[in-house]
Symmetry: C2
Subunit: 200 residues, 2 copies
C-alpha cells in the first residue's frame, strides 16, 4: 500500500489501476480495489475519474500512448525519410513484441480493454497513421518516394504491416524467422513507395 501522504494525482491512480488490472484481471478489477491499493477512499478516485469506464479508458489510452510517444520522435526527426520509415516500422514491431512478451498477462488485459474502448483505439490508430503520413509526405517531397496521396500510401503501409503490430498476430512474434519476414515485408513496401511505372 502506497503512503497516503503523497498527493493523489491522476498518474498515481493510473499506475495503481494498471497494477490492479494485472492482479485481478479486467473482469474483476473494481474502483474499490484501486482505492484500497492507494490507501484512499473510492470517492478520492472518483474525483479524478468520474466513472469506472472513464478510468478504464484513461488507463487504456496511457498504455497505447506509451508506444506512440517513442515513435513520434522517429517520425519528426530531420533524417532521410526512408531510414525513418524503416526505423518507425521496426520501432512499432519491437514495442508491441516487448509488451506482448515481457508481461503477457498485462498484454491480455489490455487486449480486452482495447476491445471496450473504440474511440481511444481509433485515436491511437489515427495518431500512428498520422506519424506515418508525415514520413511518407516528407519522402514524396524529397523525391525519395513516388508522388501520390501520402495518407493513402501511409494507410496501406500500416495495414500491410499488421502481422507485426496487430495484437491478433502476437502469438507468432517470437517464432523463428519472424525478423526476416518483417524485413522482407518492409523491403517490398519501401520499394513500392519508391514507386515504378510498369516497364514498357
Amino acid at each position: 500500500m502506497a503512503p497516503t501522504s503523497e498527493t493523489l494525482t491522476a498518474e498515481r491512480i493510473l499506475e495503481a489501476t494498471e497494477e490492479v488490472l494485472r492482479r485481478h484481471g479486467p473482469a474483476k478489477a473494481t474502483v474499490v480495489d484501486v482505492a484500497r491499493a492507494l490507501g484512499v477512499s473510492h470517492g478520492s478516485v472518483y474525483r479524478h475519474f468520474r466513472t469506472k469506464a472513464a478510468l478504464r479508458e484513461a488507463v487504456t489510452k496511457r498504455w497505447l500512448d506509451r508506444s506512440s510517444e517513442a515513435l513520434a520522435g522517429i517520425a519528426a526527426a530531420d533524417r532521410d525519410p526512408e531510414d525513418r520509415l524503416r526505423d518507425w516500422a521496426r520501432g512499432l514491431f519491437e514495442a508491441k513484441r516487448r509488451k506482448a512478451g515481457d508481461d503477457p498477462e498485462l498484454f491480455a488485459t489490455y487486449s480486452v480493454l482495447v476491445g471496450e474502448n473504440g474511440t481511444v483505439v481509433g485515436d491511437h490508430l489515427d495518431d500512428l497513421t498520422g506519424q506515418l503520413t508525415r514520413i511518407v509526405r516528407d519522402g514524396m517531397a524529397a523525391g525519395v518516394f513516388a508522388a501520390g496521396d501520402p495518407a493513402t500510401a501511409a494507410g496501406a503501409f500500416f495495414q500491410a504491416t499488421a502481422c507485426f503490430h496487430d495484437p491478433c498476430h502476437a502469438a507468432r512474434w517470437r517464432r523463428p524467422g519472424i525478423d526476416e519476414e518483417f524485413e522482407a515485408v518492409v523491403e517490398l513496401l519501401v520499394r513500392g513507395l519508391r514507386g515504378s511505372r510498369r516497364p514498357v
Copy 2:
C-alpha cells in the same frame, strides 16, 4: 435423415459432419451425432475416419481446400503475371469474406477447428504461398517483376495482405472503404514487386 440406401462415402460423412458442427458447435458435436444424421451406426463412420480427431481434421481440410482450389486455377493460368497476382489476391479476399459473411456460425466453428489442426493449416498456407510463388516466379521470368527470390517475395506479399485474409481481421471485412484499402495495399505491393532501385 438421409436415406441409408445411398453408399456411405467419405464425402457424405464430411457433409454431414459440417452440418452437425454448424448445429451443435465444435465443443458439443460428436461422432454419434454425425452417424445419427446419416442414419448409420457410429461404427460405419469410424470405418472411414478412425478417430473423432481424424474426422475433424478431414472436415477442416475440406473447408480450407474449397478456397485454395479456385485460386489454383488463377495461379496456373497462362496470363499476365501482374493481372494474375491482382486476381488471386482479390479472389482470396472475396472467398474469405464470403465465408465469414454468409455463414458466420460456420466460420466461427471453423476458426476453432483451424486452431486445433496445426498441420492441416500449415499445409493450406504452404499451398497458398506455393501458388503465389508460381505467379511471382513467372513475373520475374517475364521481367515484369524485379529479380529476387520468388518464395521470399511471395511470402512477404501474403503476409502484407493478412488484413484481407486472416480470420482475425474478419470483423472489418464489411466496413465501408475496405475495398479501397485492399486496392491501395495491393497497388503498393505490386509496385514493390516491379521493383526499383533507390533514385540516385
